[in-house]
């Protein structure tokens, strides 16, 4: 088995399953902070999927998208926590 088929048939399905499991937590909640953390983890897994895809396709330009996604995940979590803390009632 070559490394390409290993990435295609083992690593990427595991990551897809992880995204599905995280999405269950986003749907269930139960509170807003749970959803924020689940969204953060989902974007982090997205960075991993983009990295594996760029290895598979020999497109190293795709790593720029991973940089932007990491930045957006951090800013999103910080903004969510700032404004949830500021609001008066849950």
């Amino acid at each position: 088995m070559t490394l390409g088929t290993y990435f295609d048939y083992v690593i990427l399905p595991i990551l897809t399953l992880s995204v599905l499991l995280v999405f269950v937590r986003i749907a269930k909640g139960p509170s807003v902070v749970d959803r924020v953390v689940a969204l953060d983890v989902m974007i982090t897994i997205g960075i991993g999927i983009i990295t594996i895809y760029s290895i598979r396709q020999n497109e190293e330009v795709l790593l720029d998208v991973a940089i932007i996604l990491a930045l957006i995940a951090f800013l999103g979590t910080i903004a969510f926590s700032y404004y949830i803390e500021k609001q008066k009632d849950d």
Binding site: S18, L21, S31, V33, V41, E60, I67, A70, F74
Partner: protein, 145 residues
């Protein structure tokens, strides 16, 4: 040889991300979920990026980008986790019913959200209410909505 190293690193990364997702589903309250997921998912993505850096050996820009992303993730993930955990505690997210100790209980000023480190000082400023139901230990799992 390179293939074995790449397969090993990517397998460890994928498994740690999978365990992070399973922990996000299975853990009983928000704080345990946070402590499981943030570390494990950062480790997994870091290993994938090391794979990418090994995979393109003749391209120095890929290595630089991979190191930059790993550095950024390791810097920012604990900060984001700390901020969201602080927010969760202040907004009253319930702890697990089998939580042994809550050392922050009564330490946060409810108006200004300032944290006091001395228990007596915190109690003088923020007197504890006699109602025992005010504690954040939940009676059952996932009671907030």
């Amino acid at each position: 040889m390179i293939n074995i190293i790449l397969g090993f690193l990517s397998t460890i990364g994928a498994l740690s991300i999978l365990f992070a997702s399973i922990g996000l589903i299975r853990m009983p309250d928000f704080y345990l979920r946070l402590s499981v997921t943030v570390k494990a998912s950062t480790l997994g993505v870091g290993l994938f990026l090391i794979c990418a850096a090994i995979m393109f050996p003749n391209d120095i820009s890929v290595t630089t980008k991979a190191i930059a992303i790993i550095f950024f993730l390791i810097i920012t993930a604990p900060v984001a986790a700390h901020m969201i955990a602080r927010t969760a505690y202040i907004t009253g997210t319930p702890l697990w019913k089998e939580t042994v100790i809550d050392e922050l209980h009564g330490m946060y000023n409810k108006e200004t959200h300032e944290l006091k480190s001395d228990p007596e000082e915190a109690e003088a400023e923020n007197p504890p209410e006699t109602d025992s139901s005010n504690g954040q230990i939940a009676d059952s799992e996932e009671t907030t909505e």
